[in-house]
């Protein structure tokens, strides 16, 4: 029984860490974007204030049952992925469900939430939401291809589908996978640009066209849930990249440094880019990123 309580406490700690780190990154990204555009920008803790404000609000209307369920679906994805992806190496508090799922499972649990949230967005009847969803799903087909190719290359090369095993490979050989499988890393990072939905791939929310797309009918607690789920999910994805390509992290400071370095890539790429159309975005991912994915697979097979 004690073990169960320990597991549950560990899970709660993990989720809180993920929430705090993820939401700080979002605040920082607002600040950095503003500085690049020569504005002053909000303080980095602005997103905490926003989240607190949203959480304390009450909603007045709803459009039906799925609208309640959608954000809960989204939360399943975020929390499940942060529980399954190893946060720290060999720390008893962060073990969670690490050994219960593998990479294929992660790939599939990661789409559960967006699809569930899409259902919630669909019931509101707002055409902008549905358009945002179709764009998001289409773009997902785009960036999943190079991303899966990178993962397949890793899995083929090291004969495992487990994230923990891939981390151990890096510790044993003393070399990060981003150096020993460079093409896979390039393909995965290019896919990451689409995963984080900064410009030029922000076609889902598309502030000036779709009025924040799938989220447009959500306010108060719903928006808070979606927002916190987004930040937890961002942290989970960054941690997955760190685990796979940068040897994981021994303590939280190391993890924060590594994840933030990775987070800067889509953010800074986005600051200077205009927005693609959906089909341009899809074809972009099927161009160079897929080429690097092929190289990664060839590299994994030949060497």
């Amino acid at each position: 029984m004690n073990e169960l309580w320990f597991d549950i406490m560990g899970a709660i700690v993990t989720v809180i860490v993920a929430f705090v780190v993820g939401i700080t990154y979002m605040g920082l990204s607002r600040k950095i974007t503003a500085r690049v555009q020569n504005r002053k920008g909000p303080p980095f803790y602005q997103n905490f204030i926003d989240a607190l404000k949203l959480a304390s609000k009450t909603s007045a209307i709803h459009h039906g049952f799925m609208q309640h369920v959608g954000p809960a679906f989204m939360m399943i994805t975020s929390i499940m992925s942060v529980l399954i992806i190893p946060v720290l190496r060999g720390n008893a508090w962060f073990v969670n469900l690490n050994f219960h799922g593998d990479l294929i499972f992660i790939l599939y649990i990661m789409v559960f939430g967006p699809l569930g949230m899409a259902l919630g967005a669909g019931q509101t009847g707002n055409p902008n939401s549905a358009i945002g969803v179709t764009r998001g799903l289409s773009q997902m087909v785009g960036f999943e291809i190079p991303w899966v190719m990178a993962l397949v290359a890793l899995m083929m090369q090291y004969h495992t589908t487990s994230i923990v095993d891939l981390m151990n490979v890096q510790i044993q050989s003393g070399m990060w996978l981003m150096f020993s499988s460079p093409f896979a890393f390039i393909a995965a990072v290019m896919a990451m640009l689409g995963m984080f939905r900064y410009s030029p791939f922000d076609i889902v929310g598309a502030p000036q066209e779709l009025a924040s797309g799938p989220m447009s009918e959500n306010g108060g607690k719903y928006l808070f849930t979606l927002m916190s789920s987004g930040s937890i999910f961002a942290f989970a994805k960054l941690t997955l990249y760190v685990d796979l390509f940068m040897g994981g992290a021994g303590n939280l400071v190391e993890l924060v440094i590594k994840t933030f370095a990775l987070y800067l890539i889509p953010m800074l790429y986005g600051v200077t880019s205009p927005r693609y159309r959906t089909e341009q975005s899809i074809r972009w991912f099927w161009g160079w990123p897929t080429f690097f994915g092929f190289l990664a697979i060839i590299y994994a097979v030949v060497f």
């Binding site: 899970a11 909603s59 007045a60 209307i61 709803h62 459009h63 039906g64 049952f65 799925m66 309640h68 369920v69 954000p71 809960a72 679906f73 939360m75 399943i76 929390i79 499940m80 050994f99 219960h100 593998d102 294929i104 499972f105 599939y108 789409v111 559960f112 699809l115 259902l119 019931q123 509101t124 009847g125 707002n126 055409p127 549905a130 969803v133 179709t134 289409s138 997902m140 087909v141 785009g142 999943e144 291809i145 899966v148 397949v152 899995m155 083929m156 495992t160 589908t161 487990s162 009025a211 447009s216 009918e217 607690k221 849930t225 959906t278 089909e279 899809i282 697979i297 994994a300 097979v301």
Partner: protein, 613 residues
């Protein structure tokens, strides 16, 4: 016992057909009885090993069951019983009920017969009964008989003749029709026969399994048959092709050196089928067509699994076959329910049914999640095993192809749910009611099983394991399955139970957090009461989004969609038609013309008699 079941089916079919002349209720009861009684007899009394022999006109016929065919019989009779309950309600008030019931029972009988056949002659006879009864169902509506019916018929005929040729060839070599003899003698056959026989048989089975390029009949036939029947058509009947393929791929081809190439080619054909089916499914505006193309794609996955043929891949293929029967059966039934309640199955016409048909929505939602392969549903387990088997057997490009197809499948999954249930609620559909209980309950039962298999796949993996051991897979012990843990050959695992519990815990926590207060505080408003750039839309404004739903994606893949195998077939058919037109100029059907031919022939004969003789 084996033949009694078939006799009960046949007798039931006839009785049901004629009972319609007396009383409709009697007919319904007889229909249910003639599906359920043989089904329960089957599961109670038929075991592997009891064999019934019959000699008919010098040909030795033999009926029996083995562990492999028992698995498929589970699909056929399980889905068949559910669809039978549904049909009773579905056919209420429709015309030609006797015709429908008769062919329904006959199809189930033929499929059971195929699974029981131990010799090729009875196999072929039942195969033809199945083809004929399904053809009659395809033209049940009397719509598009020229295009859809003929297409299905021509392809079935091609398949049947290929199979018949194979059977004749086998008999001329072996002198026996028994499948066992074929399996025994196949490795010693000459090489050209080792290639010819599988090619012919796979053509026959490939037509029913809708493998590319033999799939063009499927969208039309699936969408034209009544939905209560299509759930069997897609869920069970197509699995007969898979069953045949399993026999050919495993029992015959794994013992000869050419088998490797057959496997690779078939697996790649399956992969391409999956991609084509998915892309075309996204394009469809009619739910029936969408599901039909989706069936083609899903059968592609199954064929990939069977084609690869490692123990894990085989298990994945067979597990997907079972799960596909569950979720696709449910989805076709759901479309049938919607069509019955609203009169149409087109996404452009129907929207916003979620509040009117909640239970149909729940069943469709679970099945769609299962179809998309998302945990914790049964589809995920099948997909997981398929990926792992492709990875561990070094099919790194095929795994990308499959992944592309199954990611793109999310698009049509969402389209299906959004098109029918979500979006703007329109006045036109304000008075739609939920389907009758007898239609909803079978859907819910089937979708419950696809949920159950996602956490406890061991329930169905045990019979699959037994079937595979019958086929000669000795080494399934690598994946010695506990009820809810799945392994691959590299030793990686997914433990399903804690994952399910976590998912449920998180879901409930946030549902309570979001809803308990919200349900009290918030009030329901219509889908017209939304924020649209700060303006409140007027009552007459049309905000429904259903035309060109996936347009951006279709634009991105447009070059692929330009090529259609159907066009080549149409070109071939037009060419043949021109040839036949030319023949008709000679064979005019006019007696006088023929008389002239005869006279001309005699004159030529007389003129040249010195040279010729």
């Amino acid at each position: 016992m084996n033949y009694i079941i078939l006799v009960v089916f046949l007798g039931g079919a006839l009785l049901t057909f004629f009972a319609g002349k007396i009383n409709n209720v009697l007919q319904d009861i007889l229909f249910l009885a003639s599906i359920l009684v043989p089904a329960s007899l089957f599961f109670a009394y038929v075991h592997a090993g009891n064999i019934f022999n019959l000699t008919l006109g010098g040909i030795h016929l033999s009926l029996g069951i083995n562990a492999m065919s028992w698995l498929f019989a589970l699909i056929v009779l399980g889905l068949g019983s559910m669809a039978a309950f549904y049909s009773v309600s579905f056919m209420k008030g429709k015309e030609r009920r006797g015709y429908f019931y008769f062919n329904f029972i006959l199809t189930i009988m033929a499929m059971t017969g195929i699974l029981m056949s131990r010799d090729l002659v009875s196999f072929f006879i039942f195969w033809e009964i199945m083809t004929w009864s399904s053809y009659l169902m395809t033209v049940y509506n009397g719509k598009d008989v020229q295009t859809v019916g003929i297409k299905y018929f021509v392809f079935s005929a091609i398949g049947a003749y290929a199979m018949l040729m194979a059977i004749v060839v086998i008999h001329s070599i072996n002198g026996s029709f028994m499948i066992e003899d074929l399996v025994r003698s196949f490795p010693e056959m000459p090489v050209n026969m080792q290639i010819l026989i599988p090619v012919l048989l796979l053509t026959g089975f490939g037509v029913k399994a809708a493998i590319m390029p033999l799939h063009v009949w499927a969208p039309g036939a699936y969408s034209n048959a009544p939905m209560a029947y299509t759930s069997i058509f897609s869920g069970a009947l197509s699995k007969m092709g898979i069953y045949g393929m399993v026999i050919v791929m495993v029992s015959l081809l794994s013992y000869v050196p050419e088998g490797y190439w057959f496997r690779e080619v078939i697996a790649w054909m399956g992969g391409i089928t999956a991609v084509i089916g998915t892309l075309w499914a996204i394009k469809q505006d009619d739910a029936k067509k969408l599901l039909a193309y989706s069936s083609i794609a899903q059968l592609g996955y199954i064929i990939v699994g069977i084609g690869i043929g490692t123990p894990l891949a085989m298990m994945a293929g067979l597990f997907l076959a079972v799960v596909h029967a569950l979720f696709k059966g449910t989805l076709f039934l759901a479309v049938g329910a919607i069509e019955r309640q609203t009169g149409t199955s087109n996404f452009r016409e129907v929207t916003g049914l979620i509040r009117k048909m909640p239970w149909t929505f729940v069943a469709s939602l679970i099945s769609i999640i299962s179809l998309a392969g998302i945990p914790p549903m049964g589809g995920f387990v099948g997909k997981w095993m398929l990926y792992e088997s492709l990875l561990t057997s070094n099919h790194y490009l095929l795994v990308i192809v499959i992944f592309f197809s199954s990611t793109a499948a999310f698009l049509y999954c969402y389209k299906f749910l959004f098109g029918f249930f979500l979006g703007q609620e329109e006045k036109e559909w304000a008075n739609v009611k939920e389907a009758p209980v007898l239609m909803v309950v079978p859907m819910l039962i089937l979708s419950f099983f696809s949920f159950l298999l996602g956490t406890y796949p061991g329930i169905i993996l045990k019979p699959i394991d037994a079937g595979m051991q019958y086929l000669g897979y000795g080494i399934t012990q690598n994946h010695l399955w506990q009820t809810s843990v799945i392994f691959n050959t590299w030793g990686n695992q997914v433990v399903l139970q804690p994952l399910l519990y976590s998912i449920i815990a998180i879901f409930l926590f946030f549902l309570i957090f979001l809803t308990i207060k919200s349900f009290k505080q918030t009030r329901y408003v219509t889908t017209k009461d939304i924020s649209s750039s700060g303006e409140v839309p007027k009552e007459h404004e049309n905000l429904t989004f259903s035309v060109d739903f996936m347009q951006p994606f279709m634009r991105a893949v447009e070059p692929v969609m330009r090529r259609q195998i159907d066009k080549y077939y149409t070109g071939l058919a037009n060419g043949l038609e021109a040839l036949f037109d030319f023949m008709r100029k000679i064979y005019t059907g006019n007696g006088q013309t023929y008389a002239i031919y005869v006279i001309v022939f005699v004159v030529i004969l007389l003129l040249f008699k010195d040279i010729l003789f």
